[in-house]
Symmetry: C2
Subunit: 245 residues, 2 copies
């Protein structure tokens, strides 16, 4: 069955945030990412794949397409072998008790690739949740989904502002933030002493004053070179690695 004009229109509309929000749907592209989503139990609303990829045939809405059809719906410059549409999950508010050794709080991260990369880092370390401030880039942006390489389907992405998350973790976690001037990372206690909420700001604007004020400690990645800063995903990864060592 050929892909219809309406299907093409529908899928392409979901490349825009406004349409994703209104329809509550998002796109996953790439053989591995689609497979991770299906494996995580997500039910596709639409599922297009090259006919050679027999692993997708058993799934609901599975529809083999040609490469020229895929080119008409992809957001990538090299169309992927599989593209699926899923419902956007709604994890609800941040739970009042969070049992995680390390929890990222992303404060206004605007770069979709950085957000996806941080989700992948969290998943690498076996974390089950991250928290994004309400002004972070859309989690279901195609570049975020792409950069997370399927990790998006392994953890919960909550939305909350700094006050809300600070309140939720107050009795259990130490609230620290990554800053250019703070305690040397290697002198800061690891999560074995106390679980950590780690706030990471955007590259352009850093952490919001309200977030900085809520944090108990600022930590810095010692460098010594000439770069003025590191990107948000690298900072998140380096600090996580050291605190979880």
């Amino acid at each position: 069955m050929e892909i219809t004009r309406n299907q093409i229109k529908h899928v392409k509309s979901l490349h825009r945030k406004k349409e994703r929000m209104e329809q509550g749907l998002f796109i996953v592209e790439g053989r591995k990412s689609v497979f991770e989503a299906l494996n995580a139990g997500m039910v596709p609303q639409m599922l297009f794949h090259y006919k050679e990829l027999t692993e997708f045939q058993e799934f609901r809405q599975s529809q083999p397409v040609s490469s020229s059809e895929m080119e008409r719906i992809t957001a990538l410059s090299n169309p992927s072998e599989a593209l699926a549409v899923f419902k956007i999950p709604h994890p609800g508010p941040v739970p009042s008790k969070i049992d995680e050794p390390l929890l990222f709080f992303l404060d206004g991260i605007q770069d979709p690739g950085n957000l996806g990369t941080i989700i992948r880092i969290a998943d690498w370390y076996g974390l089950h949740a991250i928290v994004c401030s309400n002004d972070c880039v859309d989690t279901y942006n195609s570049k975020t989904v792409q950069a997370s390489m399927g990790s998006l389907f392994h953890l919960q992405v909550y939305r909350a502002d700094a006050e809300e998350i600070a309140l939720a973790i107050k009795s259990t976690h130490r609230f620290i933030c990554a800053d250019l001037e703070g305690t040397n990372l290697w002198d800061s206690p690891t999560v074995k002493q106390k679980p950590v909420l780690l706030a990471i700001g955007s590259e352009a604007h850093g952490l919001k004053p309200a977030t900085l004020q809520l944090a108990e400690e600022r930590i810095t990645i010692p460098g010594g070179g000439r770069a003025e800063s590191l990107n948000a995903a690298i900072s998140a990864g380096l600090i996580a690695s050291a605190l979880l060592r």
Copy 2:
């Protein structure tokens, strides 16, 4: 003086690798990146900037342009405030003696953003050189230049294959490689014991068999989660941070 049709044609041609190679020129975009290049003593062949940016006026070839003119030459979706064209540096062969505590060897890295991010990490840690295998993405790709945030002008990027660099560092450095199965990163000696040459492979293809064979040790970033891997820049950063602690 208005930007000429020939100038537009010339700048736009440099968005393509083939033209960059033939002409030996590359583009730097963004106020900060252009300024870092000028500060590093590079001499612009062309230098376009918004007229408000008086910091650029003193430089050779400085030419104020309007935002609509900038839109005609940029490779970015949001045109930057400054764009300059420089000669591609030729650092020559890898020196026979390299005095660096840590030296990255990037083995077939294809993602331009990852290469730029790794250059920025090296600069953060005050390293003065990195080595790219001959099949790595072009260092002067606009996305690489962009992601390096000016760090490209603070260090030397050598091109060499694994055998050549292994030979150069043989008596001074320990040759280790990042791999999914190896010694736990935290159990590996830091650079204080012996300087390190660290090989990082591409996400899609990993390290080449020849590189793996030359390395003395494989090290792994302990995770424990469900992500199958980390991206090349994150891996490079996490390992560098631990070995330089």
